[in-house]
Symmetry: C2
Subunit: 360 residues, 2 copies
């Protein structure tokens, strides 16, 4: 455990970059003293003066000047063609070339996905990487994937997501026998999309690490029914954003009613310490850091709008994956696991109509 982890940081990604990135790294250094080293990729003229304000961090950090960076509005396809000299691409390359153990960026998600796929490559046995993140539940947290890397998913893709999510829960979160649920529109076997029903059949018969719980519904994630919730990237993305949105809406409305009532304001003064604990528990920054799973290297995407505390959490996630040898463990597991793919399943990526998708 004495070996230091080198983290490549895309200093130009995120709404408040590069300040937020450097402050986040400084935060991480204080929280994990002596464990981390940083390489900042980006505009040296902008990074240097900020880094000077953190002399302790500067001792464990270096800057690699890059003339370009990826913008939020850049299309992934364009970045793939012309993004070679961007801070994002060079930070990822640091991992593929062995200069760093992992990469963290708060930049354009689509660009980060195509560039990390290009440089890091997908693991053997994995067709497509998935984006995974922890979501807060009543009893703890649930790893949800895919959150948007693939708008559709074949049965095999879903099975691979289940494997990746389960191994993440085991290696990084220390859940010995993670329970895995497939997001569907009902818990009955006959319900839902064909691709999901097929994935369930494969998961039932396979010896995937963890325990296959079966189908789960949208409310099973906040309930914390399973450790790992598997879905396609379209559903996962909508689910994640809607959940975050509802949580935010409730805060706002709660604040609204309290601010409009003097009695409630007085009450708030009494309840403040308790409410702060509540707020801390649900703080989206705590759950910041979406893991790109299925690559030959650790790449974590931070929310673009986060602050230095949120960015520190993303750095923490990345360093934990390195520390726990996530990549090695997944590689080993993939070798030990029989191929789930059958030619029949391979072709069922496009989903067929079904009438059974009603809620009861």
């Amino acid at each position: 455990m004495s070996q230091r982890i080198t983290i490549a940081l895309d200093a130009m990604g995120g709404d408040r970059a590069p300040d937020m990135v450097i402050e986040g790294a400084s935060f991480a250094q204080k929280k994990m003293p002596g464990e981390l080293e940083f390489i900042f990729y980006g505009d040296e003229e902008r990074i240097s003066p900020i880094l000077e304000k953190f002399p302790q961090l500067a001792e464990q950090a270096s800057i690699v000047h890059t003339p370009e960076y990826v913008r939020n509005e850049d299309k992934p396809s364009m970045v793939l063609r012309r993004g070679r000299n961007t801070s994002m691409n060079l930070a990822i390359k640091a991992v593929s070339e062995g200069h760093a153990d992992c990469v963290v960026s708060a930049g354009n998600t689509g660009a980060l996905m195509v560039l990390s796929r290009l440089n890091l490559k997908t693991l053997e046995g994995i067709d497509r990487p998935a984006i995974a993140a922890a979501m807060p539940t009543t009893v703890g947290q649930t790893i949800v994937l895919d959150l948007g890397a693939n708008v559709d998913a074949s049965p095999d893709h879903l099975v691979q997501f289940a494997l990746l999510g389960s191994l993440y829960a085991r290696c990084v979160l220390g859940v010995k026998e993670p329970s895995i649920g497939l997001v569907n529109v009902g818990s009955e076997e006959q319900k839902g999309r064909d691709a999901i029903k097929k994935a369930a059949q494969i998961l039932q018969d396979s010896h995937i690490p963890g325990h296959f719980f079966g189908f789960i519904e949208g409310d099973d994630i906040p309930k914390g029914t399973v450790d790992v919730a598997v879905t396609d990237g379209f559903t996962g993305n909508v689910l994640l954003k809607a959940s975050e949105g509802v949580a935010k809406q409730m805060y706002q409305m709660l604040r609204g009613v309290i601010e409009h009532s003097t009695m409630a304001k007085i009450g708030y003064l009494f309840a403040r310490p308790a409410l702060r604990r509540f707020k801390k528990k649900m703080d989206p920054r705590r759950y910041n850091g979406a893991m790109f799973l299925g690559l030959k290297g650790v790449c974590v995407k931070s929310h673009g709008g986060t602050d230095s505390y949120g960015f520190y959490r993303a750095i923490k996630s990345a360093s934990q994956m390195v520390r726990e040898g996530f990549y090695d463990q997944v590689s080993k597991e993939l070798k030990n696991t029989p191929t789930y793919a059958t030619s029949e399943n391979d072709r069922s990526v496009t989903e067929t109509q079904s009438n059974g998708g009603m809620s009861s």
Copy 2:
């Protein structure tokens, strides 16, 4: 406005039926005095003694004895074959045969959908009915559809859902120019599934009632960005359940922190009236009642676990649709609107892979 609305009620549907159904009807009668008449379908021996407790309601109500009823665990396909004499089927038939103006049931959703499709038929120009409901937002409410009638949706289906949702918002909620959003994984044109992109093209060019806003994301629903949010039944179902689940989770966690702190308990006493207003605003019973849109008749599905207040809200939704002539208005609009369908779109029900589904 003096004409009474006759409502056929499936007295046997719902966790607390028939009590909850009869109490809900009594509630509705008190809230809308002189406006409603009821026909209860179900086991007369069970309904009669409860109805006797509500003499005022009994004056405006009749009972049609049915020997059978649909159970929650019954498969829709089975109900379709053998459910002829169930309270649910006969209540729906009351509408198709002109004995009642609308039907409300808190029973099995899948069964209610297949039976109402069979008896009421879909409107000309509508391929598939959709389930729609109002979801609370920071600024009011948004109509979301489809919530689970169809696990997949072609571009034409999505366009039809948009039309139905927009007309509902206009006729029943009184929104003059409803804004319509298509749920996607990003607001940029190049993102998302092909079916959604095609639907957006059709909506941009068509003269659908209301205003096409464009793509929206999961958090746009709690934000209240649009009046009508259109999606396939799989995504809609997961979105609805996740949103309800997160709201519930936050209540529970909030209650948990307050109960564990004496100071917070004192604070709660002061803030209670304000918190009650907040709770009332977000009360899921207020939003109870999922409308089956696209049928030649008004059918509303109540949540199975609701109470009499929630059931009253479902009755209210149904009676509003009748009062505002929703069915006539949709029929008229469908005649005036050019067919959106092209043979190309018809075939694109199965969605193809795309790599552009990342969040930014």
